[in-house]
């Protein structure tokens, strides 16, 4: 009997656990450790944040789903990994703190034979003074944040209905943020919603980003064939903003948020300010701070994790200049180089380098997006990790499945306004996610497989995906046939 333990029930962990359970015989156990009682389809938080969806439309309780499918749920947050067990018992285990404060049991040991770290990001609002829902800005990273943001939007709309002008500031709350795509979706949905509520004329909307150019999205942008030219995504993004009257600030590191005022540094070293009435600024990410402890009780965290808290996997982490980075540096199996029975999936794995060119201001502030790990690759990685673990339990000496972001394409639909007849979304495919300039020297991507267009069809697809992925996550009949 083998015991597979998955830390985190987000897109990646839930996918890994579901496939491991499907593929393993009943004698093997699959356990998910999650501090949340609910599964959240995070991409649709955008619509909660503009008041178009309710929390129960984007989240559902995990326990009944796991019970039906024979997956054990431990409600709590993993804190320590003990890969060598301890002096009396060499079996590896994870220390889990119960999710509910005051819960009777105290920290619990969860033993594993195979471990998947799919704990996603820690939302580092603390890295920018005054950033975040606990301080002076809003977010849509969690359902609760999105609900709070929707309420703030309602208030702003009320003020506009009374004749006041409002300044909306949306974007990235730090120079090292990732997830530009999510904030981009929010700003265009916000603009659409203000029009729908007939107060657009009272609103000024500003996009603030750490990207060097618009449309970079942490993946060095992309190029699309259009009208006999190969056009960079910066052109389409600027066009989209200009059409909607959204102004923009690029190359910015937000270093302080006060009530109604953002302070930021730009790549030229200048310190600037931007006033706002409503600011939705996403935080930078780090790993969740798991600690690793050896059999003697000594720390071994730095052998398993990078200083940013993300887990080392089979990537090449040798520091190199940007030009020397190769696609082969990117991980393929997500196995820990130290521990063959430990894997990291989704945002929890440490990328070997940025995809967008790094830039630093004259004062030494890095201002460039970190590499994104969006939903589709996170789920693909979860599934590949599950396959490898199942095969290793069956006797395979090493991981059998790969899911390199340098060999994987992504299909992405970015909502630009939600309405069944007047809404639009940008539908994109890009191959590969990490550009491969050795194979495609001009643009780093296969132009036959990279495309994008905006229209109502994209919105219909986005709605379809919302329902399809929630159906899949609920593990309803045929769930495994729905692609990641």
């Amino acid at each position: 009997m083998s015991r597979v333990v998955v830390l985190g029930a987000g897109i990646s962990g839930h996918t890994a656990a579901s496939f491991a359970r499907k593929w393993l015989p009943a004698r093997d156990t699959v356990t998910v450790v999650s501090p949340n009682a609910e599964y959240n389809w995070i991409p649709s938080n955008i619509w909660v944040g503009v008041g178009l969806m309710r929390p129960e439309q984007v989240a559902f309780p995990l326990a009944p789903v796991y019970e039906r499918h024979g997956i054990e749920l431990v409600q709590g947050a993993a804190r320590e990994i003990h890969p060598e067990g301890d002096a009396g018992d060499p079996r590896p285990y994870v220390v889990v703190e119960p999710a509910r404060a005051g819960s009777a049991g105290g920290p619990e040991k969860v033993h594993y034979d195979f471990l998947v770290n799919a704990t996603g990001p820690s939302l580092r609002f603390d890295l920018t003074e005054g950033l975040g829902p606990g301080a002076h800005s809003l977010s849509v990273c969690t359902v609760d944040h999105a609900v709070q943001t929707a309420a703030a939007l309602d208030e702003a709309v009320e003020r506009m209905r009374r004749g006041e002008h409002q300044r909306f500031l949306v974007g990235m709350g730090h120079g090292s943020c990732t997830c530009e795509g999510a904030a981009f979706e929010y700003v265009v949905n916000l603009e659409f919603e203000l029009r729908a509520r007939k107060v657009r004329d009272k609103a000024e909307i500003v996009w603030i980003t750490n990207e060097h150019e618009l449309g970079d999205f942490g993946m060095g942008g992309m190029h699309l064939r259009r009208g006999g030219y190969v056009v960079p995504s910066a052109v389409f993004t600027a066009s989209l903003f200009a059409e909607r009257g959204i102004r923009w600030i690029t190359r910015a590191h937000v270093d302080r948020v006060e009530p109604g005022l953002v302070h930021y540094e730009t790549l030229d070293g200048a310190e600037r300010e931007e006033p706002f009435d409503f600011a939705m600024l996403l935080p930078p990410f780090s790993g969740v701070g798991l600690q690793a402890v050896d059999a003697g009780g000594g720390a071994m965290t730095d052998r398993l994790f990078l200083p940013n808290g993300f887990m080392r996997v089979d990537a090449d982490y040798t520091p190199k200049p940007f030009e020397a980075w190769e696609v082969a540096d990117w991980p393929r199996t997500y196995q820990s180089p130290e521990l063959p029975n430990v894997f990291a999936a989704g945002i929890a794995f440490a990328p070997p380098h940025a995809i967008s060119r790094p830039h630093t201001s004259p004062t030494g502030t890095p201002i460039a997006p970190a590499p994104p790990r969006t939903g589709m690759p996170s789920a693909e990685i979860g599934r590949a990790v599950a396959r490898s673990i199942v095969d290793m339990i069956g006797g395979a000496p090493r991981p059998t499945a790969t899911a390199s972001m340098a060999e994987m394409g992504a299909a992405c639909v970015a909502s630009a306004g939600a309405n069944p007849l007047t809404g639009t979304a940008a539908s994109m495919t890009v191959y590969p996610i990490v550009p491969d300039f050795a194979r495609w020297p001009d643009y780093g991507r296969d132009m036959d497989r990279t495309f994008g267009e905006i229209g109502l069809a994209g919105h219909w697809i986005k709605i379809l995906l919302h329902h399809l992925f929630l159906y899949k996550a609920r593990l309803r009949p045929g769930w495994s046939l729905i692609p990641e």
Binding site: I249, T250, R272, E273, E380, T424, T429
Partner: protein
């Protein structure tokens, strides 16, 4: 003294240099018969991308 929201683009003139869609392009974006066709095409493209992986 820090600048107050000075480096905003496009404050006016820059707008002249931004690519904008034609009215026909904007019309097609929400013209249902055309979008039904695009829905089918985009789905095929996306499924192909997922299958190839």
């Amino acid at each position: 003294m820090p600048d107050r929201h000075t480096p905003l683009e496009p404050p006016g003139e820059e707008l002249a240099y931004v690519t904008r869609p034609t009215r026909w392009t904007v019309f097609l974006r929400t013209f249902v018969p055309w979008q039904v066709w695009r829905f089918a095409r985009i789905n095929v493209k996306m499924i192909r991308m997922v299958r190839r992986h």
